[in-house]
């Protein structure tokens, strides 16, 4: 399988659909331990992503990822906007000039995305943030591509599954970053909204890249 510019664009459209479908769920998660806007923010952001990708058909995976980044940065706002924006921006840089992304390239993009998020947001694992899905995802992607997997679809699938597992572990955590951290131990027992978004995105990417 390959992951060309078209696949990246299709993955983003699929992500936008998934985010919209789950908008209310994301709002509700954020209402419990935040301020209730995460679903609204992400839906607005991915609507902008979809529109911009149609308007200016990107000519490479890097261009597509950069388009996603700038759309998110200028439309999401809140904490998730800059963080997801940086994630896609770093991913864009990491994939360089490649016209098609293989397994290692995808793993490299996820690692770069994670590095961007932790560089800006300073969160560590178990702080109960999107890092708790993104870090396992990056690691699983690297492991999958190392063990001879140059199939981007398989790497993304491994990443998505690791993200799901990571997300579930956050439920019992006490938040140490982000708005939920103001709640102290009252944040325990709830799924972090940003973590859920990462899972939705990775699943959408994996679904699209998994088919030819």
């Amino acid at each position: 399988m390959s992951c060309t510019t078209q696949h990246v664009v299709a993955a983003m459209r699929s992500a936008a659909d998934s985010i919209s479908e789950h908008r209310d769920e994301l709002v509700e998660l954020d209402r419990a331990i935040g301020d209730g806007d995460h679903g609204e923010n992400m839906e607005r952001g991915f609507l902008a992503v979809r529109n911009q990708l149609e308007l200016t058909a990107p000519e490479s995976p890097a261009a597509a990822l950069k388009s996603v980044a700038t759309s998110l940065i200028s439309s999401v706002g809140g904490a998730s906007g800059p963080l997801f924006g940086t994630a896609f921006l770093r991913a864009s840089t990491a994939v360089g000039e490649a016209e098609s992304l293989d397994g290692p390239a995808v793993a490299g993009a996820l690692r770069a995305a994670l590095d961007g998020v932790t560089a800006r947001g300073k969160a560590e694992r178990e702080d109960k943030t999107m890092v708790d899905a993104l870090a396992p995802a990056a690691e699983a992607a690297e492991a999958a591509s190392a063990t001879g997997g140059s199939d981007p679809g398989a790497v993304l699938r491994a990443a998505a599954e690791a993200a799901e597992t990571g997300a579930r572990t956050t439920v019992s955590l006490i938040a140490k970053k982000g708005r939920a951290s103001y709640l102290g131990d009252r944040s325990a027992g709830h799924l972090d909204p940003g973590v859920r978004s990462v899972v939705l995105l990775l699943n959408a990417f994996a679904d699209v890249t998994g088919v030819e």
Binding site: V27, R31, I33, G34, D35, G36, D37, E40, N41, R44, I73, S74, S75, V76, G77, G78, A79, S80, G81, P82, L83, R120, G121, A175, K176, K177, G178, R179, A180, S181, Y182, L183, G184, R186
Partner: protein, 331 residues
């Protein structure tokens, strides 16, 4: 949802149109990207003071735009930090070449978006400084949290540094004064009822008739603890004592006392609480020489209040007294 609105998605733009209509001479209102600037911006040779954040806290910040306070304010969607491009546009309108001081409330989103905006703006040749407001003592542990929230102190800081800019202080001085205010201001809030975010459609949390939430912020998130309703005497102490102990404010200190309504609490209750706070401060020998009472940094229709104390010196007091002409504060 019980609000006087059209489509939830249009709230900010619709409200901005109303502000533009209500203050046609004084304000320049742009809706895409959204910001409000003084009509005479940029003001030659004056440092520009620019702030912003999610909507839903009015009059903070858009109601504080005008001579003596903010040159521009950037409203994001309800409870959502605005994006860097909007801040950049606002700075573009406000900066005169003398540099821009960005006032940022300490929330992850506000900090990150304004950080990026500052980079963009600096890259275009505008000198900037940033002050981060983090006056909320309800968040006790800064290390294992996203840090103290920027709440009531933001209003006082914007007024004081706005006056410094108005009298011609340069960027470094304005920044210094801002940091001095930030270092000497503390706040704490409580809520009787939660707000309802328009696109959510239900209250952000639910309190029983006999419950109140202590240590709330301005975004409708739950506070540190939920306790049974108490008398005003006790409520005020629950807010004032942590504030006093934190700086700490000491006997003989001179302070500005800011008693704030979270939006839905009526004037009678606010003045009642303010009176209790004044009495408690007098008991402790803390001298209140300036006051602000009213709904100035709100959380939609939340019923509740916050107390803010700022330790004053002569300069800060004079800057507080300096003339100001904005929709929400004029003297």
């Amino acid at each position: 949802v019980k609000k006087i609105i059209n489509a939830p998605a249009d709230i900010v733009v619709d409200a901005l149109r109303g502000m533009a209509a209500a203050h046609p001479e004084e304000l320049r209102v742009q809706t895409d990207p959204a910001f409000v600037a003084r009509s005479d911006a940029p003001v030659t040779d004056k440092v520009a003071v620019v702030s912003g954040g999610g909507s839903g806290h009015e009059p903070l910040h858009v109601g504080f735009v005008g001579p003596g306070m903010l040159d521009a304010a950037v409203p994001g969607p309800v409870f959502t930090s605005p994006t860097p491009d909007a801040v950049q546009a606002a700075v573009g309108k406000a900066d005169s070449g003398a540099g821009t001081l960005l006032v940022v409330k300490n929330y992850t989103g506000d900090v990150l978006n304004f950080e990026t905006a500052a980079e963009l703006v600096e890259a275009s040749g505008v000198g900037t400084r940033t002050v981060v407001v983090q006056d909320d003592v309800a968040v006790q542990d800064s290390t294992n949290t996203a840090g103290r929230r920027g709440v009531g102190g933001t209003v006082l800081l914007e007024k004081i540094v706005g006056a410094a800019a108005e009298r011609g202080d340069d960027l470094a001085t304005c920044h210094e004064i801002a940091e001095r205010v930030s270092a000497n201001v503390r706040s704490m809030g409580m809520a009787l009822t939660a707000p309802t975010v328009p696109h959510v459609g239900e209250p952000s949390f639910t309190l029983a008739d006999y419950e109140m939430e202590i240590g709330i912020g301005i975004h409708g998130e739950p506070g540190r603890e939920r306790v049974e309703l108490e008398s005003a005497d006790r409520v005020v102490r629950r807010l004032l004592d942590p504030v006093l102990e934190d700086l700490p404010f000491r006997e003989g200190d001179e302070v500005l006392l800011f008693t704030n309504s979270m939006g839905g609490t009526p004037g009678t209750e606010l003045y009642l609480a303010h009176g209790i706070a004044e009495r408690l401060l007098a008991d402790r020998g803390v001298r209140v020489t300036r006051r602000l009472v009213g709904p100035y940094i709100t959380s939609l229709e939340m019923q509740g209040m916050s107390l803010t104390l700022l330790k004053l010196d002569d300069e800060l007091r004079n800057l507080w007294d300096a003339p100001v002409r904005t929709p929400a504060l004029t003297w």
